[in-house]
Subunit: 405 residues, 2 copies
């Protein structure tokens, strides 16, 4: 027993994923300590490397989604390449892919084939639309999953058009759900020796994140509406963003004294210097504030407009009222607290040099995982083919000359 | 080895969570087969039961977040109640809580105390702001986590104010990340016998879902902007929602022929009857389409406006172009495909009667978990106190009379 041992020490993942949905899943496994081998085409690798890329370097999006992995190249269009994958499947615990529907089967790497090679394999897939859906053969990306999974219908101004939520729920959201089911199956495999086939569709995964909207729909009998800055599922006044100095695009603070906690409203009135309104029947109960929402909002905004969001947050938060400044990516990246706490880490990448990035944000025994930079294409060919398959330098050179890797 | 065995069969979870962030995590564990014991106050239980509640029944939001769990009541404000919890900790594998900061320690149920009782316990917590943050003691809800974690700053129209993404990323998003780390620690515990302390903060978890925005920020050097219907991280023309008949608030289809797949654009032109534009230099390359975005959008919209979104989806999707209709909660709930595939299930609840709801959307070995209705308050007192602690009916009646349960 080693108290420093990462959770998934010794687990081997064969990772045939690309773009974001699949890589976000396997990166989580890598951060928990699994050895994740990213299998890429010798011709350019994961196309996600080129998303937002400049000057021929891998794009930052790729670097954020592929940390702590190893990269090997395998040409899946030749039989020797497919044989290499099958040899590695023998030694793997987990296999993950998110190619277009039907691709992995055409390559001869279906679950039925791989479980013959390794009955304990956990075989995991992400689709856009689930097996049995009218659209099961269709292509999808995050925006498509968000449109068809309902999240766009509940994002936007009340009278505006549907908008894409900023978070990539169909991509990283699906990846996180898949990781949960993979880890459940891994635990079962440890207990019973049993493999598993795991599958998630983006459209289905998105619905998991808008259950508040489904609840509101059940209550009203109508499709859940868009709710601007608010949550469709609850009526709580005040609950909104309030404008702060100096009035930039993200100079707001969200304030949410809870409807079930009358003391929150009183605390807020004290902070904003309006003790005179404590006990005022127009505002005293949650129901009264709903009736007088415009006045409530005006009272608060009159105070927030005179402060910047950080000062407002210090005062309101310290008083015991739920509140949060609207922060943008620049403010988050420049806030030293995230690096102090290990949520962001400055790393040294071979071609990009030093930069700060997010790690897995969950602490285990007080610490977050240490980031290892995303691999260059094929960076770990020698190491992985040696450790997994016992190949030596000559074997590897032959594979390279034969365009297998 | 039983091929029907759920992944987490035999795992016991002591669940002191409330509202959404914590319950979404423990529900995932329940769906994977763990025995999840929801510990609630005898006075009304999880306050989430009352969110959106009508006629004194538990609200639908609660029912969606607490399926497949058992409920017991324990008064945590008396020493006998705390002793009951400690006795149960001896027999539990996982302990989860998301009370306000400092509450669990004040109750005498800190990690330091519980690991003395059960060194193998996996002790998991969700906070609004992480330990070490200037706001570590502050209260938070989903909206607060989304404001301060950056997701509001990247959601909304380009020139509009920040909006709340419809998906509850700070709540269910944090819950999913916590579940992943819990399951990693559970695997480690199975291998090494080692317990773990797991902690996630909503603000930190939200950032995990907007890495596309962080990538765009790294590329441009400026805070990632709001991008309306689009993804901030990639420039792809066309990629937007296009208006369909009959013009209702969600009558749109998202169309996304991929910039790296020239055949997608050609396929789209064929579907919309504009083969005449194949090879037109104004639109032929991804770069040319970026230059002529307005014309591109007009060409597509002219076709979509004459069709409803389902017809448009059938034609465009079948042609091999990434596309998805914007669907609202009513359309999703009424689409029989989800029930046919086991993603939604119709259940019978003791007080609500029959209704359809979402289950865990990931299939394991071809099936999704079967839903058991969310428990009534204290529904499983007799069963759980007997099975876990060996108490008989007389013991339980005494606890009830003493206001312990």
């Amino acid at each position: 027993m080693n108290s420093d041992q990462a959770s998934l020490t010794g687990i081997r993942v064969l990772d045939l994923t690309q773009f974001e949905a699949g890589p976000s899943c396997t990166e989580a496994l890598a951060w928990l300590g699994a050895e994740v081998i990213k299998v890429e085409s010798p011709k350019g690798g994961d196309p996600g490397r080129r998303t937002g890329a400049t000057q021929g370097l891998d794009g930052r999006w790729f670097l954020l989604l592929n940390a702590n992995k190893k990269s090997i190249t395998v040409n899946l269009k030749c039989s020797q390449g497919i044989k290499l994958i099958k040899d590695m499947v023998r030694r793997a615990d987990i296999f993950v892919e998110n190619f277009a529907p039907g691709t992995i089967e055409r390559l001869g790497l279906s679950y039925e084939v791989l479980r013959e090679i390794n009955p304990k394999i956990i075989y995991a897939q992400i689709k856009g639309f689930g097996t049995g859906s009218p659209y099961e053969g269709n292509l999808a990306l995050d925006t498509i999953g968000q449109a068809s999974g309902g999240s766009m219908s509940v994002t936007g101004e009340r009278d505006g058009r549907p908008l894409r939520p900023g978070p990539s729920i169909a991509d990283t959201g699906s990846g996180m759900l898949l990781a949960i089911s993979i880890l459940g199956a891994l635990y079962r495999c440890k207990c019973t020796g049993q493999g598993a086939r795991i599958e998630v569709a983006m459209q289905d995964a998105v619905m998991q994140f808008i259950r508040g909207a489904f609840a509101e729909h059940a209550r009203s009998g109508r499709a859940a509406p868009r709710a601007g800055t608010k949550s469709a599922a609850v009526v709580n006044v005040p609950s909104d963003i309030y404008s702060c100095k100096p009035g930039g695009p993200n100079d707001y603070i969200y304030i949410y004294p809870h409807r079930n906690k009358p003391e929150h409203w009183h605390r807020l009135l004290k902070v904003i210097g309006r003790e005179d309104l404590i006990g005022d029947p127009r505002f005293e109960t949650a129901a009264a504030r709903v009736q007088n929402e415009k006045e409530v909002d005006a009272i608060i905004a009159n105070w927030t407009r005179q402060r910047d969001k950080h000062e407002a947050m210090r005062l309101i938060g310290a008083a015991g009222i739920p509140a949060g400044p609207v922060l943008d990516t620049l403010e988050l990246e420049n806030d030293p607290s995230f690096e102090d706490r290990g949520i962001m880490q400055t790393i040294e990448h071979q071609t990009h040099g030093r930069f700060k990035m997010l790690t897995w944000p969950v602490r285990c025994d007080g610490v977050t995982p240490k980031i290892k930079p995303a691999p260059l294409l094929g960076q770990h060919n020698a190491e992985v083919f040696r450790d997994w398959l016992g190949l030596d330098a000559t074997d590897i050179e032959t594979l390279r000359q034969d365009d297998v890797i």
